[in-house]
């Protein structure tokens, strides 16, 4: 499947923040969104998720115009892994993952056996089955992130939007999340994630998208990310080098300090 935005203008109350947005993502690929703080990534994600209607332009799924789909239908094609989780009550991991099924359950309904099976499957896929009865609020940041990804899986959408999935995680957990993202790609999901580290784009072998002063620049494969581009985005000097040791070959970023 293909998710596509054509000639999108995004922003609040007719006040455009991003203009001329043309992006396209296939299932089974990763799109990394790079950009400095306050460049408009949040606006971009909100529009992508349908929380913020496009000022103009259209959203297509394959060749179907989905711009005017209602909340529930839209959520069944694209799910969301937010950056912060605020739970005022203590739910178990299983209960949190089950919430992902709410797209498929009507207003006065509750989850059936089938929904539970799907949630269990999602937990197993994320390899967190063993913590299904633990309290979500007592988990570490990395574990919580895995649970939220499992919830997005239970939603059974073809595309997942992840807002800085590695933020405020320690180094090990960042790598674990990146690995999981690659696994999801292999299961032919389309992933759109923002990150503050261009290295993550190299690790995922992703497509890259630059959000830069009211513009979205689709630069295609991340091998097209150049030192001058990084300098322009982040305002500091960053060298890009080819790292190679036995089977591990990929580009790395080396900031010069």
């Amino acid at each position: 499947m293909k998710f596509r935005i054509e000639n999108g203008v995004m922003g609040y109350d007719k006040k455009p923040i991003l203009t001329d947005v043309n992006i396209e993502i296939d299932t089974g690929s990763i799109l990394c969104v790079l950009g400095k703080n306050g460049a408009g990534k949040t606006t971009f994600f909100k529009s992508l998720l349908g929380m913020l209607p496009l000022i103009s332009g259209n959203i297509f799924l394959d060749d179907i115009d989905v711009s005017n789909w209602n909340r529930r239908k839209f959520s069944s094609i694209i799910s969301y892994v937010p950056q912060v989780h605020s739970f005022s009550f203590s739910f178990t991991v299983m209960e949190v993952v089950l919430l992902g099924r709410s797209v498929h359950i009507n207003m006065f309904g509750s989850p059936t056996k089938k929904d539970k099976d799907i949630a269990e499957e999602a937990l197993k896929q994320m390899k967190i089955w063993h913590m299904k009865d633990r309290q979500f609020n007592s988990l570490s940041g990395g574990e919580q992130k895995l649970v939220i990804v499992a919830r997005a899986l239970a939603q059974q959408a073809s595309f997942i939007v992840m807002d800085e999935p590695t933020s405020s995680l320690d180094f090990g957990n960042q790598i674990k999340i990146i690995k999981q993202v690659r696994d999801l790609q292999d299961k032919s999901l389309g992933i759109i994630m923002s990150t503050h580290s261009p290295d993550h784009a190299f690790m995922c072998d992703a497509q890259a998208l630059i959000v830069d002063s009211n513009k979205i620049v689709n630069i295609g494969d991340c091998s097209n990310v150049t030192e001058s581009l990084l300098k322009r985005i982040y305002g500091v000097d960053i060298l890009i080098d080819e790292f190679s040791r036995s089977y591990h070959k990929r580009k790395v970023c080396v900031p010069t300090i």
């Binding site: 959520s75 969301y80 709410s102």
Partner: protein
């Protein structure tokens, strides 16, 4: 107070035996409730033995005296206590889910005092009991809406939870002063005592007729609440997350607030003000059974019923003079609440 420590350990246990633990909790509460109802039928100014009750219900033998005590006096009162306890608790749960905060309840949000004010006006104008219900519902709804709007407007100033509680205090005291004004102008021989006693809360004088009157209202409010309970879980997420899960949070909020206010007001219009129940019982139930509203709400209903049944038993048997319900719930509720507050864990 060791009890709570034991319960807290149970909570750890519950994570190991999740599904059967829930079933055990339900069986436990239902059995205690049934036994308590039988016991409550027996006690009172005139003691009846369980065997006499059995005889009364299951055989053709009838003692007019015992029959009157059981079916005309005690039974309506017990049913009312069960209904009021359950309703106040379940609406407490619902408000807590809607406002994403385990510290709110109908009294804190101003619903109770709004409803009380509406009822006081209705009493003053000598309206029928139906009129009292309508007035308390409308005023209750106005109060909770006002509280919510104020907290929304002030949201950016500070922490939202704090604003909600402060707004609730403001609205409560506003309606409180209107009530005082009404009392001041009320006829001191008839209307004033009626309003005053009503404010203290009581099940005294509840008839089968009254219960039949509010039962349809209570059912219309409670059934949607129970049905929507799973979706209420989604409300504890932030707005964007709820949206991305395909939910329109406001639709659920409006249905829930409407239903909760409806049932709270219908109870308040009949029994007067009964505080604390909607705050401490849901709190206690979360300790015991977790926060999944689908499991929590029916369980809270039963627990609230049990609680108020025993409060009423104390009220009518502790002394020769009946003690108003609202006074007992406050005396028992306030220290209990402080205790729960001190025990509140991060993950709770």
């Amino acid at each position: 107070m060791k009890v709570i420590d034991v319960i807290y350990k149970r909570k750890v246990l519950s994570q190991t035996f999740k599904s059967s633990y829930t079933v055990i909790c339900y069986i436990g509460i239902i059995s205690i409730l049934v036994l308590s109802v039988i016991f409550s039928l027996c006690i009172g100014r005139y003691n009846v033995t369980p065997s006499e009750i059995m005889k009364e219900i299951f055989t053709t033998y009838e003692s007019p005296f015992i029959s009157t005590i059981l079916f005309n006096i005690r039974m309506p009162r017990i049913i009312m206590a069960l209904l009021a306890g359950g309703v106040l608790t379940i609406s407490g749960c619902a408000y807590q889910a809607v406002f994403r905060n385990p510290m709110v309840s109908p009294d804190i949000l101003g619903v109770s005092s709004g409803a009380a004010c509406g009822a006081a006006i209705a009493i003053l104008m000598s309206m029928s009991s139906f009129g009292i219900q309508i007035m308390s519902f409308v005023f209750g709804l106005v109060a909770v809406t006002a509280t919510f709007l104020i907290s929304r407007v002030l949201k950016r100033v500070n922490d939202q939870v704090l604003m909600l509680i402060l707004a609730g205090i403001v609205i409560s005291s506003l309606f409180g002063s209107v009530i005082s004004l009404l009392k001041y102008v009320a006829d001191p021989d008839s209307k004033l005592p009626a309003i005053t006693f009503w404010m203290m809360g009581s099940f005294n004088g509840v008839t089968a007729q009254n219960i039949k009157g509010i039962l349809p209202v209570v059912l219309t409010g409670t059934i949607p609440l129970v049905l929507i309970s799973w979706k209420l879980n989604v409300l504890s997420l932030n707005e964007d997350e709820a949206f991305s899960l395909g939910i329109k949070p406001n639709t659920i909020r409006i249905i829930t607030i409407f239903c909760s206010t409806l049932i709270t007001a219908s109870i308040v219009s009949l029994t007067g003000l009964i505080g604390w129940v909607g705050l401490i019982i849901p709190h206690f139930c979360r300790f015991l059974i977790g926060s999944d509203n689908r499991i929590l709400m029916p369980f809270s209903f039963l627990t609230g019923s049990l609680f108020l049944l025993w409060i009423d038993n104390i009220s009518r048997t502790a002394s020769s003079l009946e003690i108003p319900i609202g006074i007992i719930t406050a005396i028992i509720g306030s220290p209990l609440f402080l205790f729960f507050l001190s025990k509140r864990k991060r993950d709770f």
